[in-house]
């Protein structure tokens, strides 16, 4: 029986190979090779370019641990990642619920379109339009002062809240989409059963709906948390003098000071920290689910 299964699966694999080949070839060329090059760079004293001396070193990784600067920045970035993820849940989950369970037909399509719209616009354009809205004398400031009877001064530009706003706007669609998929799959009769057996609305939410949609929440959170921790464009443009984060320092190493080895080492430390966090969080979240 076991043998037969093995033969069967081998037979299944062989005809599949030509189909898999392009994907694997692409992965090897576009992801694996450059990534290996970056690992290699991160252990070098200098880039291996014509006429320059270089040798292997652990110094780039040591730099992270010897200067409190980098760990401080990494903590700030992790905090940013958590806050943005939290806001995405607060905003995205109810929206996903309404989309999946309340709205039907045309209105659902229309709201869906609005949710996905940010995906279709260029990231830089999105950020610069926020700059126009948030600055002093900007759209938000002018609009509120036109309506309110008293004078208020809104200048959110170049601040931590501005970074959060920009990032939440960019990433909330991920949360809506992943949660929508799991919420939609929940059988309505389960909710009705819970209600008919005497559970309050709140009990149904916490005991039935949230647990069943947990995979979507987790997937969405991971999809948001990981890129936000390494984000550099939004903090740089919206954050002003408070916009220095781990991602911007990595960008500086590559673009401004041309210290690729240190930039690569910092990137891999970030990758390791993120993987550790996800690994630690996985069992907890699974139990919760």
């Amino acid at each position: 029986m076991a043998d037969q299964l093995a033969i069967g699966s081998r037979r299944g694999l062989r005809p599949a190979l030509p189909l898999l080949l392009p994907a694997y070839l692409w992965l090897t060329v576009a992801i694996f090779l450059p990534l290996s090059a970056m690992v290699f760079f991160s252990f070098m004293t200098d880039l291996p370019l014509a006429g320059k001396e270089w040798s292997f070193t652990l110094g780039n990784y040591a730099a992270f641990f010897s200067q409190s600067l980098y760990s401080k920045l990494l903590l700030a970035s992790l905090r940013l990642g958590l806050e943005v993820t939290l806001w995405c849940v607060v905003i995205g989950y109810p929206a996903a619920y309404v989309l999946a369970k309340v709205l039907k037909g045309r209105s659902r399509e229309a709201i869906f379109l609005l949710v996905i719209l940010p995906f279709w616009s260029n990231g830089l354009v999105r950020i610069f339009s926020w700059a126009m809205v948030l600055r002093e004398g900007g759209i938000l400031d002018t609009a509120l002062n036109a309506v309110l009877p008293f004078k208020i001064n809104i200048d959110l530009m170049y601040s931590y809240p501005a970074v959060i706003i920009g990032l939440v706007h960019s990433y909330v669609p991920y949360m809506v989409l992943t949660c929508y998929l799991t919420l939609q799959a929940i059988d309505d009769s389960l909710i009705e059963a819970g209600r008919s057996l005497g559970a309050s609305r709140r009990q149904v939410l916490w005991r039935v709906i949230v647990p069943l949609s947990m995979p979507g929440l987790i997937a969405g959170s991971a999809l948001i948390f990981v890129p936000v921790v390494g984000s550099f464009m939004e903090p740089r443009i919206l954050g002003g003098r408070t916009g220095t984060f781990y991602g911007t320092v990595i960008e500086d190493q590559f673009v401004a000071v041309f210290n690729w080895p240190l930039g690569a080492a910092l990137s891999f430390i970030l990758l390791a920290v993120v993987l550790i966090i996800l690994a630690l969080a996985a069992p907890v979240l699974r139990r919760a689910g």
Partner: protein, 359 residues
Amino acid sequence: MRMPRLTALLTATAVFVSAFTAYAFPLAAQAAEEVHVLNWKGYGADEPWAVANFEKATGFKVVNDFFNSEQEMLTKIRTNPGLYDVVMINAAFNDQAMAGKLIQPIDVSKLSNYADIAKDKAGSPMLDHDGKVYGVPWVWGLTALAINDKSFDKPPTSIAEMWNPAHKGRVIIRDDAVEAVQFGALASGQNINDIKDLEAVKAKLTSLMPQIKTFWSSENDWNQMVASNQIDIGTYWSGSADRAKTHFKLPVSLVIPQEGSVAWLDAFSIPVGSKNVAGAEAFINYMIDPKFYVEWVTKVGAPVSANTKAVEALPGDAFNRKVMGDPEVAKRIQFQAPITDEQREKYLALWQELKVNVK
């Protein structure tokens, strides 16, 4: 995280590929009549009208390539031996390029405009080594202060204005470690090329941080800030301030504070292995020609030419002639000297620490 890593990977691949092709095909086909120029983007050499004029006059074809930092420029000429014919190098980096055997001596007798270059610039020890010329001075300028005219009745005279509580949250400086540290050196009364008391610089910059609105990285940032009246004062480049005023009609004035200003000198060099030295010489000569310079200033706005005849060809009230040519100004400015890698890293560490402690 996805974005920076992907970009990094792509650039890494590009560097690898270019490094290998440079080794494998050193004699890659390159038409002899092409002049390959490496410079900052939008910095004179790539002006379409200038390229067209040069091509018409000499028959050479100009191929422009750009860099985003001096380190990138050095890497590009290192990894592509023989590709470039002309490279624009800040005088403070000329030493490093010469020591790395990246650039070759220039036969200045072939450059008819070279004789008109100001003697202090043409004879600069940063560009001439062992009696040979490794860089032809092109333009120079200042990193000084610029003000929003709407915020001042009378232009300030001291660098201390940046620390004035009246401008809290309306000050801007460039996100550049070396520039920031040298600015701090000026503010604490030190020589920018021989900073003895780095702690004093750090203390000065630390007290400046709460004043700052944001960091600028391009001219466009600065000009937009002024256009939307969000800043009062900040560090700015002299050529850019001129461009903001004359070209974009913004309320911007350059201030050269009594404490002094950082000055820089940009020069053209010919990389070792250039396949078209004659074309390179013709191009450099064209770049320092008064006719090109006047057109550049009038059409776009530019720093000050190192060619005295070119500056004299400007109208008498032109900023680059009246203000920058003022002997009083000349006394106050300090030219940037070469910086070692250790210094650069020390400055960067200090700057990053300052930025992180703002949080």
